[in-house]
Subunit: 138 residues, 2 copies
DNA sequence: AATGGTTATGCAAGAGGATTGCATAAGAGG
DNA sequence: CCTCTTATGCAATCCTCTTGCATAACCATT
């Protein structure tokens, strides 16, 4: 499926560049090897919750460098693990918050000092989980 | 879709009756107005995490909060992880007990506060592991 | 090891949703 | 009103999920 890849690229693009129109975004996607029509871009922006602010697309409540309550990043490992990187010593706190959110795809979490392992069932659940956790901490 | 209804009925059935084979389960489903083949039943049981224990199907989950020495339930994630849910703070103790049992399929365990990740090789080992651990604590 | 009973699974078909592009409507700013 | 930009109804297409069939794998017993 093309959609997830495209949306990820879009997020990357609007974070790194000033993008003023959907056609402009579309051109960048093209150059990145992702074909898309303006229709799709429009629908993606809607889904991602991107807003146009002062003439360019941006994520609402954009993070200004400092991490969201201890969470530094999310990665996927294999097809049934999501790995969360946290600030030193914050993993447990972050894990508690994730647990409290009751993300349905999450089967279990184990926290170390600055890393959390999150068990899920498959790639699909992985994607959904990353997305949801990111929502919690954004 | 038929699937959700069928799986709910299955859960109800294995909780209320002693069911020893998938054909038996299938017959009960029929009587409840849900047609199904043995293939579907097999896949449902897999998805639901149902385990055959002492000759009858059952869920590896303690219903009544009161657990078998700290173990609340077992789940499978992907094809090489078993996730054990424990009472708060009990994960390490439960893990020690699991380790002591020397379950041959278990490659390693990591315990957090109330969750244990248990690494195994494949689906088959997963099933065997859930069964064996459940038997230890039952 | 063969057998009989039970359970798992590869494959292909069908059903239902999700995704997309096109055309076009709606909106925004001059 | 005109142009540029964005949103959306519709239809075609693509995918994923579900299922049954056939059969393989498994397991206990002899």
């Amino acid at each position: 499926m093309q959609k997830d890849v495209r949306q990820q690229k879009i997020l990357g693009l609007i974070r790194s560049k000033r993008i003023g129109t959907q056609e402009e975004l579309r051109a960048h996607l093209m150059r990145a090897g992702v074909a898309a029509t303006q229709s799709s871009v429009s629908r993606d922006l809607e889904e991602l919750g991107v807003v146009k602010h002062q003439g360019s697309y941006t994520l609402p409540q954009s993070r200004d460098g400092h991490s969201a309550r201890g969470l530094l990043g999310l990665d996927m490992a294999g097809e049934s693990l999501v790995v969360a990187k946290c600030e030193s010593g914050m993993a447990t706190a972050v894990a508690v918050e994730i647990d409290r959110a009751h993300v349905s795809e999450i089967i279990g979490t184990v926290a170390g000092d600055d890393t959390i392992f999150i068990a899920v069932n498959d790639r699909k659940a992985q994607r959904a989980t990353v997305k949801k956790i990111w929502e919690i901490f954004k």
